[in-house]
């Protein structure tokens, strides 16, 4: 099932000791169409992670409302309603391997489904599917998650979220701390789930190359607000705005600008990925 996410003037803050933090989200309006792959970018402390938490009911808005499909998340939601939302919104935290706890990989992956009332035999079945979806071998299911390598742990943790069979997948820097190959593989997997399962995907990232390669839309956050929400191409075409937000260009685009500046050649298109850049270079006869 595909789901739309709608935030309407959402304001939120945290209780921190005796004090309240300043607004981590300040009147956020954003509308994520079903099946889209949206990247959320912005500086540390801009409210990216809080935005994800709001989608999952882990952070409740003080003001405004969050609509996930036809469910509304409000300040005074009861636990049942929140649980229903968490079933539909799968959340992969930053360094999700920190949430592994069970004796075996299988048990850990089954944890989510079992909490949502799936029978044990069905959960085990789901675990077998999920581990293959993250590109790992079924034989790992009987191993201890703590005996795996860092990249494998990350995948197991993501499998644990996929096993909940969510309609929306929300990820906070799933590639952080992995080697470039491992990172690329994970993001490719995410992108393929987005395409094949029509899984609405929200990805927080700092890597503009990932944004250019995988996302449809970009939401730029600054000081708790979504200051821009547009297609990847439109966002990266607006150089002045990007400078103002201190947001980098994808490396292919940076290369293109530098090349155009030094050689005086102008490439036909705005190149955001390496492939586009290669095509454009071939076209002008540089390679």
């Amino acid at each position: 099932m595909v789901m739309e996410i709608k935030l309407d003037k959402v304001t939120a803050d945290y209780q921190l000791g005796p004090m309240r933090t300043p607004r981590v989200l300040d009147a956020v309006d954003i509308n994520l169409k079903p099946g889209t792959f949206t990247a959320v970018v912005g500086h540390t402390g801009a409210g990216k992670s809080s935005l994800l938490k709001v989608l999952n009911g882990l952070l409740l808005p003080n003001n405004g409302q969050v609509m996930v499909g036809d469910t509304v998340i409000k300040q005074d939601d009861n636990k049942k309603a929140l649980k229903a939302i968490r079933k539909r919104v799968g959340m992969v935290f930053q360094f999700p391997e920190a949430q592994l706890f069970a004796e075996t990989v299988e048990k850990d992956i089954c944890f989510g489904p079992l909490n949502f009332g799936v029978s044990l035999s069905k959960a085990k079945e789901i675990a077998r599917v999920a581990i293959k979806q993250v590109g790992l071998d079924e034989s790992l299911l009987s191993k201890s998650p703590f005996s795996l390598s860092g990249g494998q742990k990350r995948r197991v943790a993501i499998a644990g979220v996929l096993a909940m069979e969510p309609d929306i997948l929300v990820l906070d820097e799933p590639g952080a701390g992995l080697d470039p190959t491992g990172k690329k593989e994970i993001l490719s997997l995410i992108s393929s789930w987005n395409r094949t399962k029509q899984l609405t995907t929200v990805l927080v990232t700092h890597d503009m190359d990932d944004v250019a390669r995988f996302a449809d839309d970009v939401a730029v956050m600054e000081k708790g607000q979504v200051v821009s929400h547009d297609t990847v191409r439109n966002t990266f075409s607006n150089q002045d705005q990007l400078d103002k937000w201190h947001i980098d260009l994808p490396s292919a685009r940076r290369f293109q600008l530098k090349l155009e500046q030094t050689t005086g050649l102008i490439l036909a298109a705005t190149c955001l990925t390496e492939e586009e850049l290669a095509d454009a270079l071939i076209k002008v006869g540089l390679v």
Binding site: G17, P18, K79, G90, A98, Q99, F116, F146, V161
Partner: protein, 270 residues
């Protein structure tokens, strides 16, 4: 998790924040000791006045302190309850066999309640206005004389400062792991006791694992930078005794004298 007040530091620039941690520690412990001098309403009133004044001096709103007492309220009430039941003397109001409630019992209960609350308030003042690291330095400085008796004071204070240093990390991490398990449908504080205990495993296990990992990393980090337990150390933060610290201790002496006078001149209950 974030609502815990006791043991937390709140940055500020009040007169109390500025005091030397040694003075604050000595005064805090001393205050708790002289609480036991109080035996009538005059002395308790004086102590209350003093406590409220100290709290005012910290520039931290009273509600913060009241929130600090809240988690302990059941423990306090339980003690008060026992005190009421097992103190005899004066008029007896209720007499049901082994359960008797007497005049002295009630008065004692009220005193115990106030004593407890004041202890919590004053210790909260000390921790709220002192950086954990200063607190450790203060303790280290105060325990220094014990080194003559081969007490490993430096190691203790290192252990203390490391544990204090990582409390915020641990709280942070607990919050994160709880969020992550909640996102996977775990519910805390619901269902039977056994069920609730079971939901704790997915939180504690990851925390244990990461704490052990971190301990090892920290130990390695210290070792490669040449840390030796036996070395003599100089300190980056120097404690400086100021005039206001002397005032603080003088105030404690003044309070003691006033208490002793009120104790002997006032009407005692026993």
């Amino acid at each position: 998790m974030n609502k815990l007040i006791l043991g937390r530091y709140l940055p500020g620039d009040s007169w109390l924040h500025d005091l030397d941690p040694r003075a604050k520690l000595v005064a805090g412990v001393y205050f708790i000791l002289i609480l036991f001098i109080a035996n009538n309403w005059q002395t308790y009133a004086l102590l209350w006045l003093f406590t409220l004044l100290v709290m005012k001096l910290s520039n931290i709103p009273y509600r913060v302190y009241i929130r600090g007492v809240r988690p302990l309220i059941w423990l306090i009430l339980f003690t008060v309850f026992l005190q009421i039941l097992f103190t005899a003397g004066g008029t007896i109001y209720i007499d049901w066999g082994i359960i008797t409630i007497s005049e002295f019992g009630l008065i004692n209960g009220v005193y115990i309640f106030f004593r407890f609350v004041m202890i919590v308030f004053i210790s909260t003042v000390v921790t709220l206005t002192t950086k954990p690291i200063d607190l450790t330095d203060g303790i280290n400085a105060l325990l220094r004389p014990l080194k003559k008796f081969k007490v490993p004071v430096d190691e203790w204070s290192l252990m203390l400062s490391i544990s204090l240093r990582f409390i915020p990390n641990l709280l942070d991490e607990t919050q994160k792991v709880m969020d992550a398990q909640r996102a996977r449908g775990s519910e805390f504080g619901e269902g039977s006791l056994v069920k609730q205990m079971k939901t704790l495993v997915p939180i504690f296990l990851p925390l244990f694992v990461s704490s052990l990992n971190r301990a090892e990393e920290l130990a390695n980090g210290m070792e490669v930078r040449g840390y030796q337990a036996s070395g003599t150390r100089s300190t980056f933060r120097q404690l400086k005794w100021k005039f206001q610290d002397t005032i603080c201790l003088m105030a404690m002496i003044g309070l003691t004298i006033a208490l002793v006078i009120l104790r002997t001149s006032g009407v005692a209950f026993h």
